[in-house]
Amino acid sequence: MNVTRFISLISLSFSFITCFIQPSSAEEIDPATLPLESLMDLKVTSVSKKSQSLTDAAAAIFVITQEDIRRSGVTNIPDALRMVPGIQVARIDSSKWAVSARGFNGRFSNKLLVLKDGRSIYTPFFLGVYWETQDTVLEDIDRIEVIRGPGASLWGANAVNGVINIITKSSEHTNGLLASAGGGNYEKGFATLRYGGQLSPSTTYRVYAKHLERGHFVDANGNDTNDAWHNSMAGVRMDSSPTATDSFTLQGDYNSGKLNETYKLYRLPADSPPPYDFLTPGRTGIDGGDVFFRWQRKLADSSSHTLQAYYDHDKRDMLILPQTFDNIDIDFQHRFTLGTNQDIIWGAGYRYGSIKLLSSTTLDFPEQSTSTSLYSSFIHDEISLIPNRLSLIFGARLEHNDTTGFELQPNGRLIWTPNQQTSLWTAVSRAVRTPTVGDQQIIYRYRSLPPATPPNSLPIPLRLEILGSTQLKSEEVIAYELGSRSEITTRLSIDVALFYNDYRNLRVLKPGQPYAETTNAVQPFILSNDMHGYAYGAEAALELTPFDWWRLRGAYSFEKLFMYLDGTSIDQINKGNAAGDTPRQQLSIRSGMDLGSGVNLDLWLRAVERIDWIDSQSMPGYATMDARISWKPYKDLELSLVGQNLFHDHRPEFIPEYVNTVPSEIVRSYFAMVTWKLR
């Protein structure tokens, strides 16, 4: 039986079952006919899931609110993620970020799923997220939900160590004009214009345009590292609810920019005498866009259908591998209650991806044009064992991909809420990171070494290369988690999560059979699943409001990873990266003060322990501070001054692995900004 039919059959049987077991609903009541007296006499029912927020979920979740974004002074999404415990954020250069959850950080950190308004922005072929293009009007972001730990059953593939869900406001809430602009020493200039309005009583829209120019960072001696960049974007969103039960969202975005970068590349020994390495500047064009549509139909209370579809396009004329990706994705979801105590969500989806590449001397792929298909289905069942007190959750996702076939990712969770202020949860989950077509096909000629120069002991030049493999299996994690949330008073709450992750089949390199070319020898290294390991850690978030005008937010993370090579692998570098590129401890403390007369003062202190091992180097730990002062002279106008990385002139945070761009050091920056909001 082919996969489509298999999934359709599952869906079919589900929809039949769910139709006949749906409980009766209470939607016909007109509240106007219920005078207050009768309302007070009416017996009401309580449905467990009804008004449950995501923050009551049985998972390690942290929500960045619009206020958090506004008051932190951040100018981009990845920097906002620095406030989340258990998330590692580091800047490689002016336009590149490394972001991951619970370890395995890197520009191509492949164990984190990132969604923007329900659209996956993880680039599966390139094993990561191009954060530099993931931008929007920051004022229009409603919240960013960050889930650490496996989230595959609800959200999808590659949610091995976490899910980041960026949610923008409905156009219903972005009525009127927003104009903001600013600039400073590093943020050379940025401007945003957004207008929202109403097309009909049930339909609202907004349109936006944004442009930014960012400067360069510096090297250890303070010299320009040629990594300045600019990006422009524009988009539109429309939300409509023409009937009481239907709502539609239509959204489209486009971005175009150019970024400077410098590559360290190696010539082939056959083409040139030593030295083989050379630096070359690149100017990379980044263009992308998307169209997104969602239809939601409410069937009854706690029962709804959602159908969404999107298309996205990403083009990058990167020096060593010009690339174009196009994706089409369609997903269906159905939520309903079963009996009085079960809340079920199930769904199915299909994604088609088209990849077009242009090989170079450095990076080569036998198939320059290829396509991928991913079929998926999931179920999530929350069973209330004791109403409002104890719930059991089962979830599973079944996927079929082109490289490893079927993958099952199940999880089980338990949440106990002894009272409104406290909850305790625990979870066990399995998640996988499936290899991509790129993993199977890559030929990466990453280094050439002159004769008799360590690590080359041969009397002739040696070329090193990485080769993909069709034998690759999925990388796998079994995660055990325990957490608690407690509101000690209305002014103090603490959120703690502990985890233990057991990893198998992690991807490293194993030496292949050396061979000779006319002038030199070649040592290939083949991608293989020859590493296992484990990690444990603790994360805590604290919210304290000592006075109505002062709030404090703290986040602390501790984690340790241990890795072991299997089989014939001698890949100490990737083993070292996996075990050593995560700071053991991170601390973030944010203070927000409302000083009166429309003046706010925000301070953000961050301390990050050293990175022990990243591509044979170490990165020093650091402590730094951002500060923002803002003043609202009128209701609609806000002026602000922001200083970032105040404690250092410049400091290194990370280096790139795989793609050899020259890293740079993050600089102290200042900027001023004006925001004008007219409703």
Partner: protein, 185 residues
């Protein structure tokens, strides 16, 4: 062949199944009942009759805006107020997790999911004439909190802090106060 083969057939069957869903639901419709959260929404709607706002607070001439501060974006209890009007004004429900989005409202309901830090939310709107209602325990005891809703023995009851409401230039009629479990003056 027993089972018809081919994708179109399966898709067709699937769509048929979906079509039948609303039908089967109607067949099984039982006597209407309100959930706790719906009852709270209906309560909020009813208060509109018994509260007098300063004329200047209405940003829209023919509508009253009810803000719901909530972190439960999937909560659809407030849909019960969709397309309703009262005293010649259309009721517009705005749901948001950001108090800033709700400043234009005449009533703000703070859901328990937004209880974390609600004191600051109240502080942020302290200078506006907004009726504040919540089901957070002892809401009316906090600065800016006006009406606390509570469910006791499956029945709704409420407590009013009249002094706080008057500070915000709101007038609550005696009819509403009579039904209250307790009134702080």
């Amino acid at each position: 062949m027993l089972i018809p083969s081919g994708r179109p057939v399966i898709i067709l069957l699937f769509l048929t199944a979906l079509l039948f869903c609303p039908l089967t639901r109607q067949l099984s419709q039982a006597s209407p009942q309100l959930t706790e959260s719906q009852a709270k929404a209906v309560f909020v709607y009813n208060t509109i009759r018994y509260v007098t706002w300063p004329k200047t607070v209405f940003k829209l001439e023919d509508a009253i805006e009810v803000g719901v501060l909530t972190k439960a974006s999937n909560d659809d209890s407030w849909d019960i107020l969709k397309n309703k009007s009262i005293l010649g004004r259309k009721v517009i429900v705005r749901k948001s997790s950001d108090i800033d989005d709700l400043r234009s409202c005449q009533i703000i309901y703070i859901d328990t999911t937004a209880r974390k830090d609600f004191v600051r939310s109240l502080h942020a709107i302290r200078q506006e004439s907004i009726l504040t209602i919540s089901d957070i325990d002892n809401f009316h005891m906090y600065e800016g909190g006006m009406i606390t809703l509570k469910v006791v023995n499956s029945r709704l009851n409420f407590t009013v802090n009249l002094a706080t409401a008057r500070k915000s230039a709101l007038d609550i009629s005696s009819h509403l106060l009579k039904l209250a479990h307790e009134v702080l003056r």
